[in-house]
Every structure is written in C-alpha cells, then in structure tokens.
C-alpha cells in the first residue's frame, strides 16, 4: 500500500510539474499587465510601474522567473499573490475549505438526486413521468451554469426572498451571532449555490445513470432475479443499480477536479469565496503566481482524488455480483 501511495504521489508530482510549466508559460505569454489597474490614474508614472515590477520580480527574464518559481515550489512555496498581497498558499488555504464544502454538498446532493431520478425514470420507463423527467434533466443538462445561477439568484433572493444574496456568511451580523445562529447563517448562505450546482450535477448523473440502468436490465442475472420473484423495485435497487453504478463512480472521479475550479461562475455570482473565483479572477488580473499555484493545487488535489475514486470503482468491479 505504501509503495502504491508513493508511486501515485510521484506520478502526481510529475503531472503537477508539467501543468506548472505549461501554465507558467501560457500566463506569461498572454498579453496584459498585472498592474494595469493603475492605468486609470493619470498621475501614476511609468517609474512606479517599474518599481512595482521590480518588487514582484517581474523585471527579471522569464526563464529566471521560472527557475525561481520551480525552486520555491520544490520547497512547498507557491509564491506571492500580486492581487491579494499575501502568500498564494494563504489565499488558496482560505478559499479551499469553502470550495470543498460547496463541492461535497453539491456532489452528494447531485449524485443522490440524479440516481434517484434515474431510478424513477427506469421504473416507469416509457411513461409520461419518464418523459417529463427526461425533459427536465435535459433542460438542466443544457443550461449554462451562470444562467441558472442568475435565475436562482433572482428567483430565490429577490422575487421570493428566501435565501441571502451571496457570500459564505452574513458579513454584517455573522460575527455577532450565537454559535447556533452562525451555523444557520452558514447553511442559509450555502443553500443557493449548492442547490444550483446540485441541479446541474444531478441532470448529468440522471442521464448517465438512466442509460447505465437500461444497459444492465437485459442482463441474465436480472432475468434470473425476476424469475426468482423479486419485485421490480427490488431488482432495480439490489441488482441493476449496483452494477450500473460503475460509470457513475467514474463520473464522480472526473467531477471532483472539474468542480475544484470549474464552479467559477457559481462562485462569482453568489460571491462564494472559493478556489474557482480566486484563480479565474487571478487570470484577468494577471496574478501569475496565483494562477500557477491554483492550477498546481487543483491538479494535485483533483488528480489524487480522482485517482482514489477510480481505484475505488475498480475495487467495486472485483466484488462478485450479488446472487
């Protein structure tokens, strides 16, 4: 096991090194100035810009910057964020828990809801309910995430003010709430972004899961189960679902890294202070260290998590089908 973990970590390190190199090159090649914000002020001179560039080491040749970056990375340092004026590790460290929380809730909710919808659809395959649910899942599957987020924001915070507009907590009152109040406040703020991501994820899962279930239904062991007199519900839950879960577990593994930075629009619209917002915003401000550091982190975490889930799914395949 230790050898396996060591091998996987080594592989992850190689992938991170490759991603870091490519990201570093791309973001430095991209046109733009990290200190462009100062250009709106006619009093800011070029000397000031040059001083800023020197302070952040941007006056050095790009190969030298890269060597310095790799050296720092080898020591576990991801550099200094220009836009946040703090270590990249600190910026990502404060954003990661928020993203993980949102991601776990959305993944659990999305997969549970998606599997449930697929089961209902397959149990009533060909019926009007199947077609309506299929239509709904197709709608959410095709819907751009930012559009659904804006719609949810308008519908559930403005037209029907049930949830707070955004943020991870109420910035005005959270500090002054009791422990229970704070927990409730956190949950209320989590609800809307999590609901949006859940709906989006569940649509994908439902469509995959329905197809996978339909694939296994003609199998011999399902026919055997029917001959044994099991109800359709028992067959679906005990026999069909277990075998049809494998592609969904793979999908889960793929969703994890994608959601780490892929929920940018959701995070931005709901002002959720997570990784996606931090890293993508860093691209637009040309915050080179944060872009590269964020990519490295999501590659590492996503790769490890995805790998663990894939391994989990492989282990499932070795378990004999229930008799």
């Amino acid at each position: 096991m230790i050898r396996y973990i060591a091998r996987r970590l080594a592989q992850a390190a190689v992938i991170v090194a490759i991603v870091a190199t490519i990201t570093f090159a791309l973001i430095h090649i991209a046109p733009g100035d990290p200190f462009s914000a100062v250009l709106d002020n006619p009093n800011v001179s070029e000397t000031v810009r040059q001083t800023l560039r020197a302070q952040y080491g941007l006056d050095r040749p790009i190969p030298e910057q890269f060597v310095r970056y790799v050296g720092a990375l080898a020591h576990g340092e991801l550099g200094w964020s220009f836009s946040h004026d703090r270590p990249v590790l600190e910026v990502l460290g404060s954003a990661l828990p928020n993203t993980l929380l949102l991601m776990v809730v959305a993944l659990v909710g999305g997969f549970a809801l998606g599997i449930f919808v697929a089961l209902v659809q397959v149990a009533r395959r060909g019926s009007i309910a199947d077609r309506i649910l299929g239509g709904i899942t197709l709608l959410f599957f095709s819907m751009p995430d930012f559009w659904l987020a804006i719609l949810a924001l308008l519908a559930l915070t403005y037209w029907l003010p049930i949830f707070p507009v955004g943020g991870a907590v109420d910035p005005v009152m959270h500090e002054y709430m009791s422990l229970g109040g704070r927990l409730l406040d956190r949950l209320k703020h989590l609800a809307l972004p999590a609901l949006t991501l859940t709906l989006l994820a569940s649509a994908t899962v439902a469509r995959y899961q329905r197809a996978a279930l339909l694939d296994v239904l003609p199998a011999d062991y399902i026919r055997t189960a029917r001959l044994k007199g099991l109800t359709e519900r028992q067959i679906l839950r005990r026999h069909a679902l277990r075998n049809a879960l494998l592609p969904i577990i793979t999908l889960l593994g793929l969703s994890f890294p994608a959601l780490l930075t892929g929920a940018f629009f959701i995070e931005r619209i709901f002002a959720w202070p997570g990784m996606g917002y931090a890293v993508v915003n860093a691209i637009s401000t040309r915050d080179y260290p944060l872009v590269v550091g964020g990519s490295d982190t999501s590659t590492f975490l996503g790769g490890i998590a995805g790998d663990r889930m894939e391994r989990g799914s492989n282990m499932v395949t070795t378990v004999p089908a229930p008799s």
């Binding site: 302070q55 619209i269 040309r286």
Partner: protein
C-alpha cells in the same frame, strides 16, 4: 480575544434591547452596510489604487486639513482643520508650518506627532516604495519638525497649489507602526492589513472577498461619528451587489447604472442621489503609427480627418442613448466642476454633411459598393478597442460605429480584457480606444494625460501621443497663476487648442448615482470622494433595524483620547 468576547457580550446585550451606543445619549448608533464590487487593494494611504481602498483609508486616516466641499486648490481658502488645528505661512510662502491638534491620537493610543508627518512625506518619496502618490508631491522638498507638535513643509518654489499638494494628496501615517518595515515589504505586511490611523473610524477586520468592517472611534479628537459601524459587503458580480442592495441586505450601493433606476424605483424604501464625479469619457485616436512610432498614424495623423470624425459624431445623441440624463457631453479634457473651466468652450459641431465634404477633400471617397471610403485603394477603416468589462464603453463603441458608418468610415469594435487593453495603451499599439480618466480636484493632471511629457516618456500616460506646445504652455501658465481669472483664461486657451486639434472625441462627463435606503440620512456627496462625510451620516432611532443595534467595538486599552471641545 478578550476584547472580542467582551464585544460579543455587548452585542448580545444590545440585541435584546440594550443599545450600547444609544444608551450613552446623542443621536449616534446604527450600521451602514454598503455593497461594493471588490476588495481594497492595500490599506496603505501612499500605495492604494482602488476606490474601495480609498474609502476605507479616508475614514481610518486623517489629513492635516480637509479640502472642503468647494474643492478649491489655490491657496488654503476653503480648507478646514483636521490633524492640524492651524497653520502658518512663511512670508516668502516657501514653507508652511502645521500645528498639530494636541488631542489627536492614533487608534493604538499613541499621540500624533510631527515625526509622523515627516515620515509620511519622506516614505512616500522613497523610490523603493513605488508610491503612486510620489509624483503628486514633487513640489514638496522636505518636512522639518521643530517640535513634536509642529511640522514645517518646505517647498521647492512658491506655487498656487502648494497647500493643496501638502494636505490633500496624503493622509498622515504613524511612524511607529511603519518605520521598522522595509518600504518594499509594506504591501504584504500585517500593518497594511490592519491599519492604525487617527480618523473617526477604527479598523476592525478585513475578510478577503467578503467584508471590511470599521467601527466608530468613540474617543476621537474630532468627536464620535454618528454611525457606529461601517461595513463594505463585497460582491464581485455586479448583479449580486445590486441585488444585495435591492433586498435590503445592504443600505447603500454607490455604483448604480442608469438602467437600474427603474428597478430601484419599484422599492419605495430606496432612494437615489446623483452627484458630479471627477471623470470624463473620450474616444482617443492614436496619432502615431502603431507599427512604427516614428511615423504618423496613416489615418489619425491628419488633423483635418480627426476633426471630420468629430464632426460626424452626434455626441448629444451618444450621451442620451447611453447615459440618459445622467451625463453631459464632455467639454474637453476637463470637467465643469473645476472653477477654471469655461462652460462655453467652443466645440467642433456635429455636422455630418461637412464631415463628408472634408473627407472627400482629403481624398477619402466613397468608391465601394458598401458606401465605405477609400483612398489609393486603402479603405478608411480602423479598430476601436474597448474593455469588455465596461458596458458603457462597449455601448458607446457600437453607437460610434454606426455614426461613423453614415460618414462612410468603417470602424471595427475590439473588446479586450482590461490588462490586454492597458498593455496596448501603454505600448501604443492601438488605433483608437474609448477611455476614461478619473481625475483629481486639480485640473493639472491634464498634462500627464495629454501633454508633451506624457507623450514622450517611454510609456507615459499620453497614450495617443498628442503634442502641441501651445497646449502645454497654457496649462503650465494656468497652473502657475495665482489669479483665478488669469488661471481660467490660460486653461480656456489650452482647452480650446486641444479641442480644435481633436486628438480625441470628448464624449461624456457622467454623473454618478448612489442608491441608498431611506432610513439613511446622507449629507453632501463630494465629487472627489462621496464617502468623505460618512461620519456625519445618521440613521434616526425610529428607523433602526437589527443590524443597527450592534454598538461600536470598544477601543483598545490605552487609546482613549480627549474629545475635541
């Protein structure tokens, strides 16, 4: 930690009915929650660049004197005491002695001393700091401190704006907090994230991408501000920030757009107030060839052609379409709020037939089937670059495109990320761009953005490389003049020169709109800093809600000062 627990106990008490600040009497108390679009960049007066940072810093720190609502920049007329309770001019006007208010204290309890004033100016001038403010205090030679309560500013030369330069550009910073930190490390220092000032509000916390909170300094030498807390609620998405305001999560949203007014009007509890800002919008031509800066631009190098394009532009219609009634057509590279600006500056009129005739006379004739002009086989076509983050500038570009089309000019609109556009500006590799300058109470910044020096410096701010010595000479003369009439005359000549040279189409002078909850009692919104009077804003007791019950956080031990009489 103990202070935090104490504060929470106080709050708990406050939330069940005992309203801390109110119980001490007076009309103080209440929380102002504002929607804002982004974090402050850095909370150091000499380094900040963003508006949010300026808002926080202006409430946490104090200047020696306040410019006042008249925004006069000549002499000291209209300036009111702040950290300095009085000042004395030297007979030759080469120095001004500021006498510090003996009651002024930093929020950590230390008294404000003249050393702090000297340190502020010296550190800002230190080239290793890279302060954007350094270029605006070049008239100051040094600061001496004959005693702990007197700071003497020494100037290189007598000038009309020397007092303004001395007091407006920089709030005073505490030497004891910053002197141990190398200037290059200021931005990333803890001191930059937990500022200690002497203003009427003390810093409480900054949670990146969430909120910044200030609390009233109840022991401040200028008295306790009326509102107990000021909170910036950060929402990067415009719609989210707006929705927070519309739903009552925040009390104030200072970035309302004209198209939001109808929605705001549906809420009887919300109000709006517009004010004149210090910004103007323009479409700038690059007068140099983007591929070879030693040669003139093949289209915009010609003054008559630029004038023709200006004539082809119906600026009034542009402004009406994009800003409705919330902007006026710009007069030039200036603002109506300046007392040196003549509101009757002669403009190049909108005259489409005349514009067509000029283009014809220059050899640009309609020859193609799509009614576009060409000369020697070259189409009259160029690209207008705009930042994709500015809806206003994109709209203006699209409308300009249509107006130019009527004159037979083909304009492509190029929407760019702001950093990319900024790089094109700096390297001067653009054809034309729609820009906006956010200026200061002094009209002098016009030299950096339209003068010779800004053009000839490797990457100066005169991106279009407009050069006319007559313009520079008149601005120089105006800035050197103590007489308002003469100053206005020189500026008028300078503006008239640049308007007729048409290095840009002067589009709009927008008004800014602040949306606020009717329970807030606002004061004057000053053009350079609408937030500057927040300490005087209030919320009547009968209109307070739950969040208003949180009292001001107690001051740290030892920081209690005396109130001003």
């Amino acid at each position: 930690m103990a202070a935090m627990r104490y504060s929470r106990l106080l709050c708990a008490a406050a939330l069940i009915g005992c309203t801390g600040a109110e119980s001490r009497g007076g009309n103080t108390g209440g929380t102002l929650a504002m929607s804002t679009g982004g974090d402050p960049d850095v909370l150091v007066p000499s380094l900040l660049q963003t508006t949010t940072a300026a808002q926080v810093v202006d409430l946490v720190y104090d200047r020696l004197a306040d410019i006042g609502d008249s925004l006069n920049v000549v002499g000291d007329h209209g300036f009111t005491p702040r950290l300095a309770d009085r000042w004395t001019w030297a007979k030759d006007s080469l120095s001004i002695a500021f006498h510090l208010n003996p009651n002024a204290k930093w929020h950590d309890g230390q008294p404000v001393r003249s050393n702090d004033v000297r340190f502020t100016i010296a550190s800002t001038k230190d080239s290793t700091l890279g302060s954007p403010s350094a270029s605006v205090i070049t008239s100051i030679d040094s600061v001496s401190t004959p005693d702990s309560a007197t700071a003497v500013y020494w100037f290189h030369a007598r000038s009309p704006q020397q007092f303004y330069d001395a007091v407006y550009q920089l709030p005073i910073m505490p030497e004891h907090v910053w002197k141990g930190i190398a200037p290059a490390g200021w931005r990333g220092s803890e001191a930059a994230k937990h500022p200690i000032g002497s203003g009427q509000y003390r810093f409480v916390r900054w949670i990146p991408r969430a909120a910044v909170e200030l609390t009233a300094d109840t022991a401040n030498y200028r008295g306790t501000p009326k509102l107990s807390r000021v909170i910036w609620s950060i929402a990067p998405d415009f719609n989210s920030a707006l929705t927070r305001f519309l739903t009552g999560e925040t009390d104030l949203f200072p970035q309302l757009r004209p198209e939001n007014l109808r929605e705001v009007a549906k809420h009887p509890e919300l109000k709006t107030q517009s004010y004149r800002g210090l910004a103007y919008v323009f479409a700038q031509f690059n007068l140099r060839n983007p591929a070879d800066h030693d040669r003139p631009h093949p289209i915009f190098g010609n003054r008559e052609l630029r004038r023709a394009l200006t004539m082809a532009t119906d600026r009034a219609a542009l402004v009406r379409s994009v800003f409705d009634t919330l902007a006026l057509p710009a007069l030039g590279p200036t603002l109506r709020v300046y007392n040196t600006t003549d509101p009757n500056l002669q403009q190049i009129p909108f005259d489409l037939p005349r514009a067509r005739a000029i283009l014809d006379s220059l050899g640009w004739r309609v020859t193609t089937s799509d009614s576009m002009r060409t000369r020697n086989g070259r189409p009259l076509r160029f690209t207008m670059s705009v930042p994709n983050t500015s809806q206003v500038r994109v709209q203006l570009a699209v409308l300009l495109q249509e107006q130019f089309r009527r004159a037979g000019v083909k304009m492509d609109v190029e929407q760019l990320d702001f950093p990319v556009l900024a790089e094109k500006d700096r390297k001067r590799t653009f054809d034309a761009t729609i820009g906006q300058w956010n200026t200061q109470p002094s009209p002098g910044a016009v030299l950096g953005s339209w003068g010779l020096a800004g053009s000839r410096a490797a990457s100066g701010n005169n991106f279009g490389t407009y050069e006319n010595p007559v313009f520079d000479a008149n601005v120089d003369s105006a800035l050197a003049s103590f007489d308002l009439a003469a100053r206005k005359r020189y500026f008028t000549t300078a503006y008239q020169t640049i308007i007729q040279d048409a290095p840009a189409i002067w589009i709009a002078e927008p008004r800014q709109i602040v949306g606020y909850h009717s329970r807030l009692q606002l004061g004057t919104l000053r053009p350079d800093a609408w937030w500057i009077h927040i300490p005087d804003w209030s919320i009547p007791r009968d209109k307070r809600i739950a969040r208003d019950s949180v009292p001001a956080a107690p001051a740290p031990a030892g920081s209690t000062g005396q109130k001003a009489p």
